[in-house]
Structure formats: structure tokens, C-alpha cells
């Protein structure tokens, strides 16, 4: 992921944003949705309460209407007038008196306001005998439910459209009977549905978009709606709320209303009125507070994130800059600019690191100075060594030459004057001088080897071994030597010096197998792990492993001069050469069984 790689700045910012955004978003969503849920619940229960309260108001209104008509039918005056109106002939005077009396009662009731029309129907024919509306008188209402039902008891009809009123109404009818149970007719009142609408239009506590309305069992909108005042009695509502209520499911919910607005609604079926009451509020209005809060939170959260991201960036930078300085410093040091120091004022971890860096640079600088001085003194020492060796050889040889010269003169010219013993002593003096000379030579050689420059190249070990063997032909002459030269690889080495090594080791092998009838000498190489180990094995006299350490010392000999000649500096020279190549040399032997000399060339074997 790119987030995890990239620069420190980007990573710091990315991680911060991740750590900040995710909880923000999660908590934001949780808050928002739980807020909506809480609001929805609150609104739903509020709307439900409103609908219950309104239902109560409606039932009270209905009850009141019923009571009015019912009580009226119990009024003695009304009963008397009704009796007269039905029993008397229209020709009789008292008939008209009764009618006028009825009409005056009716207009009084009308003045109360709940009822728009009121009339009295003949119990047998259903004809309108007296009415608050003169036009109705004489009409027949016998086919109406409120007549047939009103004959037996208080009856409240469904809401219907009245031609007489030219608007929707509800009929309340009751029988007029006297104390003896004599039935005269039916009193009918047409309700003023405006009051119904008023109850429903009242919308305090419902905000801007809240509304309540009534729908009948055929989905017809009965009362006025705020969203469309023209819809009354002309709109059929098939919203989820109405359908559920008509199905007997009084509840609350969220759905789309008849104006296609998403709303929260409460709906219930009022059985005695056979109407559905609906209370709704637009979801937009309901959720407005949470929406605004959500926006505020989003803005706030966004700015927090922005500030945080900037802070993360700043923090990252405060770390990066010193690190970049350190990187530059390391680069400079690498280039060799040892005077480079990094400025740092801070006491924090980076500051500490910087201080340590500076200390390290100073230390390197000192060491470097020291090294340079040492190199200088070494060079001086080498030079001194050169002149020293030269003068030694020169100065040491001069007396030696004198010694051997004068001994020779004595032997040659004073032979007759010398006794045999004297001649023997003089020969000894000569031999020792020669010996001394060769020792000096070897010493010089050894010291030179140590200071010689290594000129490495890729050479074939086999070739070098061949050259060494050629050089040692003399020593092989007249002897039975079995030579096994195994596979030898190619290595990176100074060919001249390596030849000296092989010459030395082979020469030793030849020397120390002199006493054997058949000298078996093996030259080969083995690979172990990472390095090639070269070996020269012989079946000569071997040596005691206890003295293995001494083997490679200068002038160290483990056998007497009498047994084997040699100055004892050959191995020291070989070791020096091998060490110069970065390798190691060691030997293993068993007295009387032979010796094996191993050496490596320190990983520069040219593989």
C-alpha cells in the first residue's frame, strides 16, 4: 500500500487521517442514524398522541350531535308538535300552528351551529313535514338509510354528499315517540362538517408541514387537507398509512403521502365513525434538526481533520529535517569530508542522535588524523627499516667477508704452517661465516617480503605449482618421489610470491621425506564452506603437534641442523606472504607419519 511506504510526511498524514477519519465517520454515522431514529420515534409517538386526541374530539363532536338530536326528540313540545303534524289534516289550522312551532324549534337548534339543516319526517311515508329549509318540505326521504334506521333509534350516517346542502354532510336521526311509545316520525339533522374540518385543520404542535385528515372506508378524503384544499371529497388516498389502517392495522410509520412527500405518519381506524384518521409530518421537517446538526458536525469534523493533517505534517517535518541533515552528514562523511558537523538545538531524541553523530564524526576525524600520523610514522619507519636493513647487510657483511676472506687466506697461504686442528678450526670459521651470510640474506629477504607490494592477478595455481616444481628439479633428482597433483583452481594472487610459497612448502616436503624410500607428496585443494583450502601433504618425518605454534616463527626449527639443513625462515616468509593475501596457514602432522600444510587465501581466491 502506498500509504505505508512513501515519505514520512505522507505516512504521518495518512496515518493521522486514517486514525482520525474512521472514528469520525463511524461516530458521525452512529450519531446521525440514532438521532434520526430518536426523532422518528418521538415524532411518531407525538403524531399518535395527536391522532388519539383528535379522535377523542371527533367522538365528542359526534356524541354531541347525537345528544342534541336525541334530546330534542325527548322534548315534550317537539313530540306534541310532531303528533299534531302527523295526525292532523293540512287543512286544519292547528296543523299549521304545529308546523310553525316545529320550524321555530328547528331554527333555534340551527343557531347553535353544529347542525346545518334539520327536518322532521313522517314516520310512515318518510315525507318531510317540517324543515328548517322550506324547499325540503314535501320531499320524500323514505329511501334513505337515516330514515329507515332512524325509525328505531339514534342513527348516525356515513358522510355523504347532500344535494340539498350542495356539500358533504352527515345525517343524525332519531325517532320521535311519546311516553306511551306512540311513534310519530323521525327527526333528522344534517351536521355541519365545517366543524369536522376545523378539528382536523387545527395543527398546533405539528410544525410547518404537520397535518391531520380523515379518510372514509372507500379511501375518499373527507376533510380539508393543507397540501391541497381542493381535494376534499375529490381525492382518493391510497398511501401506506391509509391502506394499513383500513386493513385494521393502527400504527405509525414512514412512507410517502398523497402529495408524494416522504412523511412520518400515525394512522388509526375510528370504528364508530367508520373513518381513518391520519396525522403526518414531512420527513424533511422532522429530520431538519439532525440534518443541520449533521452538517455542523461535518464542517467541524472536516476542519478538525484539516488542522490535524496540518499538525501531522508539521510534526513529520520537524522529524524529517534533522534526519535529512543526518543523511547529508553521513553522505559527507562517506565522501571524506570529516569536518562536517550538524547543527542541532533540540534536546529530543533526534537532537541526541545529532549530537552523537557529531561526536562520532569528531572521533572519526581524530582517528583519521591518528591513522594518518601512524601511516606517516610507518612510512618513516619503513624507510628507516630499508636503510637499516641495507646498512645491516652492508655493515654486517663487511666483517663477515673479512672473516671468511682472511680464513681463506690462512687456509690457502699458510697451509704448511698450520696444524690439522688449526685447519679444521679455520674451516669451521669459514662455514659459520657462510652460514651467517646466508642467515643475513634470509633475514633481509624476509624483511623485504614483508614490505613488498602485492601485485595480484588471476593465475592458475596449477601453473604456479608447475613452475615451483621446475625450480626444485634439482632436489628431486635421484630420488623416488611420487607426486600427486590434484585439481587446483584458479586464484587471485601475486604469482611471484605464491611461487615462493609453493617452492618453500614443496622444498620442505622434499627435505623432510629424504629419509623415506619412496616420498609420497600430495598437492591439492578442498572446498569447505566458503573457502578453498590448499594443502601439501608429505609422508616424511612429521613433527610434534605440541610445537605447531612455533613452526612459522622466524628462525624456528623443530629439527636440528644436523638432521635437516635450513635456516628456518622459509615458513615465516610463506606465512608472511599468505597473510599479505588475507589468508591463513596452518599445519597438521604426526611424528614419523608425515605432515600436511594447509593454507587459504582469504576469500580472494578468484571464484
Amino acid at each position: 500500500m502506498k500509504l505505508l511506504k512513501g515519505s514520512l510526511s505522507n505516512r504521518a498524514i495518512s496515518f493521522f487521517l486514517l486514525a482520525a477519519i474512521v472514528p469520525q465517520i463511524v461516530s458521525g454515522l452512529i450519531f446521525y442514524f440514532s438521532g434520526r431514529y430518536i426523532i422518528a420515534n418521538n415524532i411518531e409517538s407525538h403524531l399518535k398522541s395527536v391522532s388519539i386526541i383528535k379522535e377523542q374530539e371527533l367522538l365528542n363532536w359526534e356524541k354531541h350531535l347525537g345528544h342534541t338530536i336525541f334530546l330534542l326528540t325527548k322534548s315534550p313540545r317537539l313530540i306534541q308538535d310532531a303528533a299534531l303534524a302527523t295526525e292532523l289534516d293540512p287543512g286544519e289550522k292547528d296543523y299549521h300552528v304545529a308546523l310553525d312551532s316545529l320550524r321555530s324549534i328547528m331554527s333555534q337548534i340551527l343557531s347553535l351551529g353544529h347542525i346545518s339543516h334539520i327536518f322532521f319526517l313522517d314516520g310512515t311515508s318518510g315525507q318531510v313535514i317540517a324543515s328548517s329549509e322550506k324547499k325540503l318540505e314535501g320531499q320524500f326521504k323514505d329511501s334513505e338509510q337515516w330514515f329507515s334506521q332512524g325509525k328505531t333509534g339514534l342513527y348516525i350516517s356515513d358522510i355523504f354528499h347532500s344535494l340539498a346542502l350542495e356539500r358533504p354532510t352527515m345525517a343524525i336521526s332519531a325517532p320521535i315517540t311519546d311516553n306511551n311509545g306512540q311513534f310519530y316520525g323521525v327527526l333528522v339533522g344534517f351536521a355541519n362538517l365545517e366543524e369536522l374540518s376545523e378539528i382536523m385543520l387545527e395543527r398546533s404542535g405539528l410544525g410547518e408541514t404537520g397535518q391531520t385528515y380523515l379518510v372514509n372506508k372507500d379511501n375518499l378524503l373527507i376533510t380539508e387537507s393543507h397540501k391541497n384544499p381542493d381535494f376534499t371529497f375529490k381525492e382518493w388516498i391510497f398511501t401506506e398509512g391509509v391502506i394499513r389502517a383500513l386493513g385494521g392495522d393502527d400504527s405509525t410509520g414512514q412512507y410517502v403521502d398523497y402529495a408524494d412527500d416522504p412523511v412520518i405518519g400515525a394512522y388509526r381506524w375510528i370504528a364508530s365513525l367508520e373513518l381513518v384518521i391520519v396525522a403526518e409530518m414531512d420527513q424533511a421537517e422532522a429530520y431538519e434538526p439532525i440534518r443541520r446538526l449533521g452538517i455542523t458536525m461535518a464542517i467541524f469534523g472536516g476542519s478538525v481533520l484539516l488542522v490535524g493533517a496540518l499538525a501531522a505534517y508539521g510534526f513529520a517535518q520537524s522529524i524529517i529535517r534533522p534526519i535529512q541533515h543526518l543523511a547529508t552528514g553521513a553522505e559527507e562523511l562517506g565522501k571524506g569530508n570529516l569536518d562536517f558537523r550538524i547543527e542541532s538545538n533540540s534536546e529530543d531524541e533526534i537532537g541526541q542522535l545529532t549530537k552523537e553523530f557529531n561526536r562520532m564524526a569528531a572521533s572519526i576525524h581524530d582517528k583519521d588524523t591518528q591513522l594518518q600520523q601512524r601511516a606517516k610514522s610507518l612510512a618513516t619507519a619503513n624507510k628507516e627499516m630499508e636503510s637499516f636493513s641495507y646498512s645491516i647487510s652492508h655493515d654486517l657483511r663487511t666483517p663477515l667477508r673479512a672473516m671468511s676472506g682472511f680464513s681463506k687466506i690462512l687456509i690457502d697461504e699458510y697451509e704448511s704452517k698450520l696444524t690439522e686442528d688449526a685447519k679444521g678450526y679455520l674451516k669451521k670459521i669459514q662455514w659459520n661465516s657462510l652460514k651467517m651470510s646466508s642467515l643475513i640474506d634470509d633475514l633481509l629477504h624476509f624483511s623485504r617480503i614483508g614490505r613488498q607490494k602485492l601485485k595480484t592477478q588471476i593465475v592458475s595455481a596449477e601453473d604456479i605449482v608447475k613452475q615451483a616444481l621446475e625450480e626444485l628439479e634439482g632436489e628431486q633428482a635421484g630420488r623416488k618421489i611420487r607426486l600427486n597433483v590434484g585439481k587446483l583452481p584458479v586464484f587471485q594472487a601475486d604469482p611471484a610470491l605464491m611461487k615462493q610459497v609453493f617452492v618453500n612448502l614443496l622444498s620442505n616436503a622434499f627435505k623432510f621425506t629424504e629419509k623415506k624410500k619412496i616420498a609420497i607428496i600430495e598437492i591439492g585443494s578442498e572446498k569447505n564452506n566458503k573457502e578453498t583450502v590448499y594443502f601439501i601433504r608429505d609422508n616424511g618425518v612429521g613433527f610434534d603437534m605440541r610445537y605447531a605454534e612455533k613452526l612459522f616463527g622466524v628462525f624456528q626449527r623443530l629439527h636440528s641442523e644436523a638432521e635437516f639443513e635450513g635456516t628456518g625462515v622459509g615458513l615465516a616468509i610463506s606465512q608472511s606472504i599468505i597473510h599479505r593475501h588475507g589468508g591463513r596457514v596452518w599445519a597438521e602432522a604426526e611424528v614419523g607419519k608425515g605432515a600436511t600444510f594447509y593454507f587459504t587465501l582469504g576469500g580472494k581466491d578468484g571464484r
Binding site: 324547499k135 314535501g138 320531499q139 320524500f140 329511501s143 358522510i159 344535494l163 372507500d218 375518499l220 391510497f238
Partner: protein, 334 residues
């Protein structure tokens, strides 16, 4: 990689949209619309608004119907036309359906349009005649047929001696007889004739026969028993669309008048506006859905016919109508 995915997504969406469009098309083309004819009981006018609206607003089309609307003609009476099978549906009054059944004709109503009959008597306001009781000593203009029938039934119910009233024959259509005093009271359809007087500047008093004891159903949608039994789906579709047409007309009176004018070319907008407006309360009464029928109204209609001797013997009027299709359409909702 992302580019390829978006590319693929776009292609998939385009292809699926095309497929759904094609399948939609082919679905419609799968079944050709049923071509049917409905016979109106009179000339083209707002009386049949629901049918025109259903045709013009695509309600019939939605039910995969292609409806030809043919008005009344003397040459091809509606009943015969439907019985012969020339037309599938017709509009006639409920009385005429009972009469037909009495005559052994296998027709049946499956919805009522005018729950309150617009048959009426009307007078000029200045005459002061506001109810039949005022007819005594006056000239009442009558037309033969249903009107005469209703008049007789009414007068009997009211207990008014028809001898006390002068009966005159009036023209088939018009308010002239009233205006020129040939009659004091004329008759007609409340949705129609009175408007002519109003147009001429007179106020009128309208007395519906329905208010005076002749409370019957008027226009009903009917078909043969055969159609109702063997093509119920077709009947339901036609009924549903026609009822929707009436609902739309109730909600959009102005627009409906415009639609009617496409058919009632010989009439005026003001006349059709009046007719539509007066019709609606007779059709949409509120206590039951549009088209819904009650048995006692059919009983009453039958009773009137019997009493007036239009039918000699009682008829099984329950066979004159069926609630099956109304139940199908409204039953689900309730």
C-alpha cells in the same frame, strides 16, 4: 485495470437497459389490444364523461383496450346492438334493464353511474312553483316514456289528483315551452334542459323526481349474460378504466369539459360544463364508491315499474344486476 472495469460496467449497463427496453416493447406488442364498442344511450355529452376521459387519458389503453364510443341512434338501438353482439357494452337506465329482463332479454347491469336519477321537473323561478304540490291548476309539460311514468308514480305517492293538473305535451328538448309560457312546468334531465333556460337568462327551480318518491337508479353499464360469464376479465378491465375515467372527471372538471368537446361538437362549452357539474353529485354520493349498487335501490326501481304497470309481472330483479365486478375492483381496496 480500473479503466477496464469501468468500461465493462458501462457496457453492461447499456446492454441491460437496451434489453429491458426491448423486452418492454415486446411485452406490449405481445398482446394486441382488445377492440370493443360501447353504446351510449344518448348523443355525445357530459353525461358520459367517464367514458370519454378513459379513452382520451389512456385508461382504456392501460387495460389493453381499444374502445369505440358510439352514441345513440334510432337505426341501431342500444339494447339490440348489445344483444346481437355488435357492441360489447352499453349504457341504459336501470328501469330499461329490468324491462328488458321482463321481456326475456339476457342483459345485466354491472355498475351504476347515476345513483340518483337526473329526471326532473323544472319551472322558472318567477313562477313560484317549487314543489309538485304547487302543480295544482298549472300546466305541466310531459314527455312520453320514463318521464310520464315517473310523473304518474310521483303524483300518486304525493296523493295529488292528476286531474287537478293540466298536462301538456312538450317538445323533446328545450326550454322554449317554459319561456313562452306554453307550460308552467317542464320536464327533462336536471343535468340538461334547465341549463337552456339559465342560458337564456332565467333562474329555475329544479324538482328531482328522486326527491319526490321516484328514487331509482338511472344510467347503468350493462352487457349480455354471455359476455359477463365468458369474458369476465374483459368486463373488469373495461369497468376499472371507466371508473377511473369518472374519478378523473370529478377531480378535473375543466379538463374533462375540453375532452367532452371533442365528442359533443354540436354543443357549447358552457352547456357541457353545467352538465358535468350537475352530474357529479348524482354519481359521486360519497357513502359508497362510484359505481356501487345497493339492492334496495334495485328493489325500488322494480317496484316503481311494477306499480306503474310497465312490467306486468314481478321480475327477479336480482338477475338484473351483478356485484361481481365491483367486488373485484373495490374488494381489494377495502
Amino acid at each position: 485495470m480500473r479503466k477496464n472495469m469501468i468500461n465493462l460496467l458501462v457496457r453492461v449497463i447499456v446492454v441491460s437497459v437496451l434489453i429491458s427496453m426491448v423486452s418492454c416493447q415486446s411485452k406490449e406488442q405481445e398482446l394486441p389490444p382488445d377492440e370493443i364498442t360501447v353504446r351510449l344511450k344518448w348523443v355525445h355529452q357530459a353525461q358520459f364523461a367517464g367514458v370519454y376521459v378513459a379513452a382520451e387519458k389512456g385508461f382504456y389503453q392501460e387495460e389493453n383496450l381499444k374502445v369505440e364510443i358510439i352514441p345513440f341512434s334510432f337505426e341501431e338501438p342500444v339494447l339490440e346492438d348489445v344483444i346481437s353482439g355488435n357492441s360489447l357494452f352499453g349504457i341504459k337506465s336501470a328501469s330499461e334493464i329490468i324491462q328488458a329482463r321482463s321481456d326475456g332479454l339476457p342483459v345485466k347491469a354491472f355498475a351504476v353511474i347515476y345513483k340518483i336519477s337526473p329526471l326532473c321537473l323544472y319551472s322558472l323561478k318567477e313562477s313560484g312553483i317549487t314543489s309538485p304540490q304547487d302543480f295544482v291548476g298549472k300546466k305541466v309539460g310531459l314527455k312520453p316514456g320514463q318521464i310520464m311514468l315517473s310523473y304518474q308514480v310521483m303524483m300518486e305517492k304525493l296523493g295529488i289528483d292528476t286531474n287537478d293538473v293540466t298536462e301538456v305535451q312538450v317538445k323533446e328538448y328545450g326550454a322554449d315551452d317554459l319561456i313562452n309560457g306554453f307550460a308552467d312546468v317542464s320536464t327533462g334531465f336536471s343535468i340538461n334542459e334547465p341549463q337552456l333556460a339559465i342560458e337564456s337568462g332565467y333562474d329555475v327551480n329544479i324538482m328531482l323526481f328522486a326527491d319526490y318518491g321516484v328514487s331509482v337508479y338511472d344510467d347503468v353499464l350493462f352487457a349480455t349474460d354471455d359476455t359477463l360469464n365468458n369474458q369476465p376479465e374483459l368486463v373488469e378491465r373495461f369497468l376499472r378504466a371507466t371508473l377511473e375515467g369518472w374519478k378523473y372527471a370529478i377531480q378535473n372538471e375543466e379538463e374533462t369539459v375540453e375532452i367532452i368537446m371533442n365528442y359533443a361538437i354540436d354543443s357549447t362549452k358552457s352547456h357541457q360544463t353545467y352538465m358535468l357539474h350537475q352530474s357529479i353529485p348524482l354519481i359521486h354520493t360519497g357513502e359508497s364508491p362510484i359505481g356501487w349498487m345497493e339492492r334496495d335501490k334495485w328493489e325500488k326501481t322494480h317496484e316503481v315499474l311494477l306499480n306503474a304497470n310497465v312490467i306486468k309481472k314481478p321480475v327477479d330483479f336480482d338477475e338484473a344486476y351483478t356485484m361481481t365486478f365491483l367486488n373485484e375492483i373495490y374488494g381489494l381496496v377495502e
